[in-house]
């Protein structure tokens, strides 16, 4: 681990370069913009999922796995954020992996040569698509199941008849505390694998080697990495809170409000959080490599 003073300096430097490159070379932003457009398309499709003719395709799985009532107005809008989150997972693994790879290629070219050709970056990302795909799949599966395990463990604990855990009630644990626990899990898992793609692209390392080195790098740059990953993720907290109170919001305002919240979530995660995390950690990796 590195000392606290230099950690702060590293974070400052990473953010400075990140913001400069977004400001002066907006091409860095293009892969994230493409992903945001893809997510918006998926949200549009999901928004019309309970309606004709899309209900023919989406109706049976929703009815079977989530319940018939979610195919009706306004209950469908309770489900929309969940469906959007699931579609984001799928899109991240299939397209996000490739586009993040392309973004890292662009950052590397900018840092090394000072000039970028989008086509070349996309092409070299395509060459390593299989490895990117597997890393994203691993991260997504880990993330999804750790959250599921955590939530069901808490639920089982309280269903067994316990009223408190660490002096706190079930209402607190299954409400705001579960959100915090999920946040910590998400930040930790993302931090563990955050350098895998830069190592794959920049160091031309193999898949397993890149994952291993990413973990080692995370251990070495623990404080700056966790801050660069977790800090932008905090921006998403209002969306989580709004989603947690969806029933109340829908009854007080209008059901389509959840569509607006979900879209705001897409904008925040794809156009603010993801670029900040990816670009800043890649620069941190490059700075560290240089030093």
């Amino acid at each position: 681990m590195i000392p606290q003073k230099s950690s702060i300096a590293l974070i400052k430097k990473s953010y400075k370069i990140t913001l400069d490159s977004i400001k002066h070379r907006p091409i860095v932003y293009v892969p994230f913009l493409i992903f945001a457009i893809l997510e918006t398309f998926s949200l549009i499709v999901l928004n019309f999922a309970p309606r004709q003719p899309l209900v023919v395709v989406f109706g049976p799985p929703i009815k079977t796995f989530l319940g018939e009532r979610f195919l009706h107005y306004p209950a469908y809008f309770l489900l929309l954020p969940k469906l959007s989150a699931l579609s984001r997972m799928v899109l991240s693994v299939i397209f996000g992996s490739f586009l993040t790879g392309a973004a890292i290629n662009i950052i590397f070219d900018l840092y090394q040569k000072g000039q970028v050709k989008l086509g070349n970056s996309l092409q070299s990302a395509l060459k390593k698509y299989a490895a990117f795909f597997l890393i994203y799949l691993l991260v997504t599966v880990l993330f999804y199941y750790s959250m599921k395990i955590c939530a069901s463990a808490l639920l089982k604990y309280f269903m067994a008849g316990h009223t408190k855990l660490l002096f706190l009630s079930a209402k607190l644990w299954l409400g705001p505390l579960l959100i915090c626990v999920n946040f910590v899990i998400a930040a930790f898992i993302q931090s563990l694998f955050i350098y895998a793609l830069p190592i794959l692209i920049i160091d031309k390392e193999r898949l397993l080697g890149s994952i291993w080195k990413s973990m080692a790098m995370f251990k070495k740059l623990f404080v700056p990495t966790i801050i660069l990953v977790a800090f932008p993720m905090l921006i998403y907290l209002p969306i989580i809170l709004l989603n947690a109170n969806s029933g109340f919001l829908m009854s007080k305002l209008f059901p389509e409000f959840m569509l607006i919240v979900t879209f705001a979530g897409i904008v925040l995660s794809s156009l603010v959080i993801d670029p900040l995390i990816t670009i800043s950690t890649t620069f941190l990796y490059l700075i560290n490599k240089e030093s």
């Binding site: 019309f48 309970p50 309606r51 003719p53 009706h72």
Partner: protein
């Protein structure tokens, strides 16, 4: 590049067409907005101007005309009657309800609900005799509908809220007789099972614990092996334990529950009750 722009435009056009479809989801959305407007009147009827009531009624009427075959059209018709009821326009409400009965004469469930609301209108107008007359007619005409089945207990509960214990007891006795007759009339049907259970429930309300247990025991003899009786056994156990103070019989019922229905959701509660009695 041009091709991808055309693709995006085609996608946007196709999805906008989906949004325009007048399908069930669109009908539900329209109904939800009408209901929300009606909700404001229902929660605060005295502060609502008559013009607002008329607007809401007109909108529901338009909805009924627009989607006459939709199941929500019936709900819209009921909502109109409810709006008139809360605004104390009882004759208008009754007219609407009798129109519903005429229109949906073949549906006993719809007719029973309309008849019940008609009875409610007399109750709200402080005319209990006419309300009771209406309810008794409903019990005769639509005995096997959910509303018809619950109404004898509803009548007794009304006396309970009015602090008329004699009439309440009488109403519960009448309910017991009615449910027994129903069980005889429709033997070996789910309705008969429900009727037997309601008999026990009536005895429990009037605190006639021995008769309640006898009714529940009769159910076990009659339906053993045909229906899940875990709830019946739990009721017997609770009555023996807390009311008749017969711990042995309570334990017998709980052990039978655990033995006969090991996967029942009541097993946990049964185990806890047994533990309270000192049985492991």
């Amino acid at each position: 590049m041009k091709r991808s722009v055309y693709c995006i435009l085609a996608f946007c056009f196709a999805t906008s067409l989906v949004g325009c479809a007048n399908d069930q989801f669109a009908v539900e959305k329209e109904f939800w907005h009408l209901q929300k407007q009606a909700g404001k009147i229902l929660t605060n009827p005295d502060a609502t101007p008559t013009r607002e009531l008329e607007t809401a009624v007109n909108k529901f009427d338009t909805f009924v005309k627009k989607y006459p075959q939709n199941y929500l059209a019936i709900e819209a018709e009921f909502n109109i009657a409810r709006l008139y009821l809360v605004k104390k326009e009882f004759s208008a409400a009754r007219d609407r309800l009798s129109a519903i009965v005429k229109k949906h004469i073949k549906s006993a469930v719809v007719c029973s609900e309309a008849a019940f609301l008609t009875g409610n209108s007399y109750e709200l107008a402080n005319n209990w005799d006419l309300a009771l007359q209406q309810y008794k007619k409903l019990i005769q005409d639509y005995a096997i509908t959910p509303r018809g089945l619950s109404l004898p207990i509803y009548i007794a509960q009304q006396y309970q809220t009015k602090y008329q214990p004699d009439k309440m007891l009488e109403a519960y006795q009448e309910a017991i007789t009615h449910y027994r007759e129903l069980a005889l009339k429709y033997p070996d049907s789910p309705l008969a099972f429900n009727a037997h259970f309601l008999v026990a429930k009536c005895y429990m309300v009037i605190k006639d614990w021995q008769n309640a247990v006898n009714s529940l025991r009769a159910m076990i003899e009659k339906y053993k092996g045909k229906v899940a009786l875990d709830e019946v056994l739990m009721n017997i156990a609770v009555i023996y334990d807390r009311q008749l103070n017969d711990k042995v019989k309570a334990r017998e019922a709980l052990e039978q529950l655990k033995k006969d229905y090991p996967k029942s959701r009541l097993v946990k509660a049964a185990t806890a009750l047994l533990k309270n009695q000192g049985v492991k």
